[in-house]
């Protein structure tokens, strides 16, 4: 298989900015449409940021089934940690395209995600690692990994929204 043609940085930025807006606006069903059918979503533990979810206890390691269940739960009534919903605001910067691996396009970006709830504001800082794939003309997310620089979820307590 030949390596995919790399997208422009602008195209990747458009995708990541659109994703950030959909997540901040809690338009999670539309966000799912940015993902491939087999997409995964991971947050490694703060002490093993480059770990492998198969042998390391992550904070989040959703397969395709759990991502969809997570969205359904978050849009329902009984995800108490997000009912009422937090306000979030994502700042996505330093977008870079790292190259291709098989049919996947590797991209990375820095993030600062603010979560406001009950008049507290918590900041999640880190780096996204993405595996993107072109389906037809559309660039889709096959894997998104949010790697926290925070040394602990303190005082955040939890990652109850989609980071």
């Amino acid at each position: 298989m030949s390596a995919p043609e790399l997208p422009s940085r602008q195209e990747v930025e458009e995708l990541l900015y659109r994703e950030a807006a959909l997540l901040d606006e809690w338009r999670l069903e539309e966000w799912l449409e940015l993902l491939t059918e087999d997409a995964t979503y991971q947050v490694p533990p703060t002490d093993v940021p480059e770990g492998d979810a198969r042998n390391t206890l992550f904070i989040i390691a959703d397969d395709a089934v759990r991502i969809r269940s997570r969205v359904k739960q978050l849009l329902g009534k009984s995800a108490w940690a997000e009912n009422p919903h937090s306000r979030t605001r994502r700042l996505i910067t330093n977008v870079r395209i790292l190259g291709a691996e098989g049919e996947n396009i590797l991209a990375t970006a820095n993030f600062a995600v603010y979560r406001m709830r009950y008049e507290s504001a918590d900041t999640y800082i880190g780096r996204y690692d993405y595996r993107l794939i072109r389906q037809g003309k559309i660039l889709k997310i096959r894997e998104r990994r949010a790697i926290l620089d925070n040394e602990a979820l303190r005082p955040h307590g939890k990652i109850s929204f989609i980071l």
């Binding site: 198969r54 206890l57 904070i59 390691a61 269940s69 009984s78 997000e82 955040h156 939890k158 109850s160």
Partner: protein, 430 residues
């Protein structure tokens, strides 16, 4: 102060009423008293033998506010050392984990070996003959001991042995430790989180069967969605379930659950292709322990609370969780996954998957628990409502897992330790 305000619990066994003064969750003086009467007196969990497998392996830990080093010495002995240079205080271990032959203080380069002995003092000839390296070894807590791989320390030299302290909880640690013929291991990756709530709310929550169906409805819906038979319905009607007082403030819930258990209890979401493999895993337990104990190890879930602040929940996976108050309304939580050392890579991946469905700060349940605790803590600002109720099942001969016997067990011990010194003082005055 009036007497009612000084009372922490109301334990009216005749009427079947149990109340906790909410001051226990909000009062800074109460927290100071807990530091002296609870955390300086009880055996506290430090870590697991498997976290320092080789000579020189170490981990930094903070326990009861103290920076400690868990280290396996060059003599293979696991020690707990207070992470402070005996010279002028600087922390001698500056990394979270690693392997070292020595710990050298960065301030004046005093050097300690992996047993904690002082082996290097630059310019030692400047000291008088009274200066003793032996006296200036890194200090260990007065008592350190291990039960089946779980390492504890106690800052009270007069406390009973760990073995006696654990009392009935040993049986339940055995049911966890027996899940491996080679020894259990802590999996890589620590979940380090927090809650803006009093630490005792997490004690209560960690073995609260009553909140399951209301707080965690979304988890049970998820289980049903992925093909688990939820006809068992309400947790309170599960067969073979009970809550037990294990002595010394320890308590456990034991029950048969709907979820699968990676140790050897198959459910459809694990996949048809794994069914035979799980039957084989189970047969090994039957051979080692006989069918009854094998069934108990493999099929029943257990929420174990070891007083004051160690939780070992052997449920859809095994979590080891400990937590400390920073202030009355804020705690820091550390949690790990425990697994059999001999588990295959594929089984281990399944175990971690199953862990994350429910547990941890990004799971489908723990964030909602944190939310309930934080919400309760905010609710306590209503000082007009002075007491919380923990009376469920108090008049039942065999309280169920949705009753509150386990919390009452904790609170009775807590109250005893918090009020005993005052009684002693009162007697002396009299």
């Amino acid at each position: 102060m009036d007497k009612a305000a000084e009372t922490f619990i109301i334990d009216d066994q005749a009427a079947g009423l149990f109340r906790v003064n909410r001051r226990a969750f909000t009062d800074p003086e109460c927290l100071e008293q807990e530091r002296r009467c609870i955390f300086d007196k009880c055996w506290l969990y430090i870590g697991h033998q498997s976290e320092v497998p080789h000579a020189g392996d170490y981990r930094s830990r903070t326990v009861a506010g103290r920076p400690l080093i868990l280290v396996r010495g060059d003599d293979a002995v696991v020690r707990v050392l207070l992470n402070t240079c005996t010279h002028r205080g600087t922390m001698v271990c500056r990394q979270k984990s690693g392997n070292a032959k020595t710990f050298q203080c960065p301030y004046h380069a005093w050097t300690f070996n992996s047993r904690g002995q002082l082996v290097g003092v630059p310019g030692e000839d400047a000291y008088s003959p009274a200066f003793s390296r032996e006296e200036l070894a890194l200090v260990a807590p007065p008592q350190v001991d291990d039960y089946r791989g779980f390492i504890f320390a106690c800052f009270d030299p007069a406390a009973p042995s760990l073995y006696d302290y654990l009392a009935g909880a040993r049986e339940y640690l055995d049911l966890v430790a027996d899940q491996s013929a080679l020894g259990m291991k802590i999996v890589a990756g620590q979940q380090s989180y927090s809650a803006r709530a009093n630490w005792k709310l997490l004690v209560e929550n960690s073995y609260d069967g009553y909140h399951g169906m209301s707080t965690h409805q979304r988890y049970f819906t998820f289980l049903s969605d992925v093909g688990i038979d939820m006809r068992g319905g309400n947790l309170s009607t599960l067969p073979r379930q009970h809550a037990l007082d294990l002595g010394n403030g320890h308590a456990v819930l034991e029950y048969q659950s709907a979820w699968g258990r990676p140790i050897a209890h198959w459910v459809p979401p694990f996949g048809e292709h794994r069914k035979a493999h799980f039957e084989q895993l189970r047969r090994r337990f039957d051979e080692r322990f006989g069918p009854e104990r094998a069934r108990r190890i493999c099929e029943t879930s257990r929420n174990l609370g070891i007083f004051p602040n160690l939780v070992i929940n052997d449920i859809m996976a095994i979590t080891v969780r400990t937590f400390y108050p920073v202030s009355p309304d804020y705690m820091e939580v550390n949690a790990w996954a425990l697994a059999p050392a001999e588990e295959s890579a594929e089984d281990s991946a399944l175990r971690l998957d199953n862990f994350l469905t429910f547990l941890g700060p990004g799971g489908f349940a723990t964030p909602d628990d944190v939310e309930m605790l934080e919400s309760g803590q905010r609710g306590f600002a209503n000082r007009e409502v002075g007491w919380s109720d923990l009376s469920r099942g108090m008049k039942r001969e065999h309280p169920s897992i949705t009753d509150e016997l386990q919390m009452r067990t904790f609170w009775r011990r807590w109250n005893q330790l918090m009020t005993e010194p005052r009684l002693h003082r009162a007697r002396k005055v009299a």
